[in-house]
């Protein structure tokens, strides 16, 4: 049995109603709970009725986070491998039909990007790519991971198109320990509407990805919903249900939950159900109060002001100084740039002249432009130790048989 059958049986409508209509008494009961909080408690904590309790929630959330994770913040950075994609997703800059500049980095170019990040301090790298089996095969991923692993990057995760368990295994064996896959939206109807072409149309296949990855040996699993597609409280409840399931089923994996809000991107899709900053803080606190041990990830999608404010509330893993296009850190891959429309190459731009920086198109526009050093300095000023290395390659090496 996978999460799909559990998901199909979830009383999502009831929980969503609770998240809308919870009373002050429901919220107080959820807050007063000693021990494990349920999905009903989580829904009550997300509700408008909980908004006046945000400061109290934040205090408990902060205390739980410090207790379990300390006054430390883990840092990571993404390396975009490729923005080629066979899917059409209405909200994504890499969408197949978008007329954007595309490229795929060769392994040595990935290494150049990683070396740039290592100099900045990063020891935890997330490899990201669009879904395109021709350009981003599991063999290519394995080679990228193996090269980084050999070069001494201790912690490597991937966020790529979902694969079969067997196809993940060589990537894990090469030293990759984290798998990130966002469901985007847990609302089947909205999902169908958003994903109009490509393998990503298969909702269930994507929903089972984390479990397939776990079976292949990934030690860290990251899930999340892209906030802005469906109603955010309903998405949050589904994410929480998914987290609850994975904590039991995939008990050896460190689970992280991400709360990415839609950002401007090529295609100019507008969020249908925006979530305010205040609601985002409420979401973070509700997650922490319900799942004291789960990692909460915050990317550079959010503004410096909001990121700094959310640090004490429950966040445990942050990216910094990020680029969301292949070659974004070093300009690597620009020699292979091409513009595509509806999946066909229509133009190969002239090679940029010296000093001109011409890169592939980004997935989305980031909001926190501060460098890694600036973010680290801010963390220290807030009383947090920036933790760059929290993993050793020796842990992920295969034992010689």
């Amino acid at each position: 049995m996978s999460f799909v059958s559990v998901f199909n049986e979830l009383p999502l409508a009831n929980l969503a109603q609770l998240a809308r209509d919870a009373t002050t008494v429901d919220v107080e009961r959820a807050l007063a709970r000693s021990g494990h909080r349920s999905l009903s408690d989580f829904a009550a904590l997300l509700s408008p009725a909980a908004a006046p309790f945000l400061e109290a929630m934040a205090r408990e959330s902060h205390a739980l986070t410090v207790q379990h994770f300390g006054k430390a913040m883990r840092l990571f950075a993404p390396v975009y491998l490729s923005n080629e994609c066979v899917n059409n997703c209405q909200y994504c800059g890499f969408s197949r039909d978008n007329p954007v500049l595309r490229t795929t980095l060769a392994v040595e170019q990935v290494m150049a990007e990683a070396r740039h990040l290592v100099v900045e301090g990063f020891r935890n790298i997330l490899l990201v790519a669009g879904e395109h089996p021709k350009f981003v095969s599991n063999g290519y991923l394995r080679d990228c991971v193996a090269a980084l692993h050999t070069a001494g990057v201790p912690s490597i995760s991937i966020e790529v198109g979902p694969l079969e368990t067997e196809d993940y295994r060589p990537v894990v064996a090469a030293g990759c320990e984290g798998l990130v896959v966002y469901q985007e939206t847990y609302n089947r109807e909205v999902y169908r509407e958003m994903h109009t072409a490509g393998p990503k149309k298969d909702f269930n296949w994507r929903l089972e990805t984390a479990e397939r990855g776990y079976a292949a040996g990934f030690r860290r699993l990251g899930i999340g919903a892209l906030i802005g597609l469906g109603k955010w409280r309903e998405e949050a409840i589904a994410v929480a249900a998914h987290a609850e399931y994975l904590l039991k089923k995939c008990w050896r994996a460190q689970l992280t939950v991400s709360l990415p809000r839609l950002r401007p991107a090529a295609g100019e899709f507008e969020p249908r159900h925006p979530m305010s900053d205040r609601e985002m803080a409420q979401f973070v606190c509700a997650l922490r109060l319900t799942f004291p041990h789960v990692g909460i990830v915050l990317s550079t999608r959010e503004s410096p002001r909001l990121r700094d404010g959310l640090i004490p509330l429950g966040v445990t893993l942050m990216s910094a100084g990020s680029h969301t296009e292949p070659g974004g850190y070093t300009g690597a891959g620009s020699e292979k740039l091409h513009r595509t429309e509806h999946g066909k190459i229509v133009e190969v731009p002239a090679v940029p002249s010296e000093g001109e920086h011409c890169c592939a198109t980004e997935q989305f526009v980031i909001a926190d432009m501060r460098s890694a050093a600036e973010v680290a300095a801010k963390l220290r000023a807030l009383g947090y130790e920036p933790v760059w290395k929290d993993w050793d390659p020796a842990l992920s090496e295969k034992t010689p048989s």
Binding site: V66, Q67, H68, F69, G70, K71, A72, G121, R123, G152, P154, R219, L247, W251, R252, A253, Q254, L255, H293, V294, R380, G383, Y384, E385, V387, W388, K389, D390, W391, D392, A394, L395, E397, T399
Partner: protein, 263 residues
């Protein structure tokens, strides 16, 4: 420490302090260094996954630079290892990197509650002892496992008081009492001690030492809290060595039955 208190002995080494310190969760490495000094601790554990084992002096993984290995016994720990193979590999790597042959063996496959795996811990302990390591295994408060690890040649056992970071105190008291009663090696109560009174309680029970991390690291003033734990550990040890008065349900007159003989 009172002049009469005995010293802690582990693997032939003698320590005046019976307070071991963990180094995770501090707001800065500088604060961690100062807390170690304030605690008087002579044994300090460091997660190897946080440290630079490459020998290239990585300034982004320089936690070891803040620990004076001449003054304290460095106790690298294998936190992050999910099985015996990983723990053994990490310990060997640490030794090869010049971090010595003491190892706090931690194998917790569940990354959320960090509860130790007894089967893998015993397997790894057997290998590491044979390889010449001084092994201090972190375990659940399981008296039989503690004896098995002692038989395997471990230098101590380190049963948990309650889950790591939980601050719930010596919830495993009854089991720890058995472990202490049966142990032929030092017993270090590790994890879950959230208040100096918890540490004193463990010491009064006869634990040879305690290990504290979260309660000091995340305190509003880690240095003063380190001093508070130092005092509590010393008080608890003194009380244990002197012997506590037996507990009673009722008030006891000084000489209820035989007082007449004194008149």
């Amino acid at each position: 420490m009172s002049e009469n208190s005995s010293n802690l002995q582990i693997a032939g080494r003698e320590f005046r302090s019976r307070l071991l310190l963990g180094t995770g969760k501090f707001a800065s490495n500088e604060l961690m260094r100062d807390a170690i000094a304030a605690s008087g601790s002579e044994i300090v554990t460091v997660a190897l996954r946080r440290a630079d084992l490459s020998g290239q002096h990585d300034r982004f993984a320089n936690i070891l630079d803040f620990i004076d290995a001449k003054r304290v016994q460095l106790l690298p720990n294998t936190s992050g290892a999910m099985n015996a193979d990983e723990a053994v590999r990490l310990a060997k790597l640490a030794r090869a990197a010049g971090l010595g042959n003491w190892v706090k063996l931690e194998i917790h496959p569940d990354p959320h509650y960090l509860l130790p795996d007894p089967i893998e811990t015993l397997k790894a302990a057997e290998v590491l002892v044979k390889e010449g390591f001084i092994v201090l295994p972190y375990i659940n408060a399981d008296p039989v496992l503690a004896k098995r690890l002692e038989d395997a040649g471990c230098a101590t056992v380190m049963p948990l008081g309650s889950p790591i970071g939980s601050a719930r105190g010596v919830e495993t008291r009854a089991q720890i009492e058995i472990i202490i009663a049966q142990a032929g090696i030092p017993v270090v109560v590790d994890a879950g001690l959230g208040a100096p009174s918890h540490a004193a309680e463990a010491m009064e029970l006869g634990a040879d030492a305690v290990l504290i991390n979260t309660a000091i690291a995340v305190a509003a003033d880690p240095i003063r809290m380190a001093r508070a734990f130092k005092a509590a550990v010393e008080a608890g040890r003194d009380a244990y060595e002197i012997g506590l008065a037996p507990r009673s349900r009722e008030a006891q007159p000084t000489s209820p039955l035989t007082g007449f003989l004194e008149r």
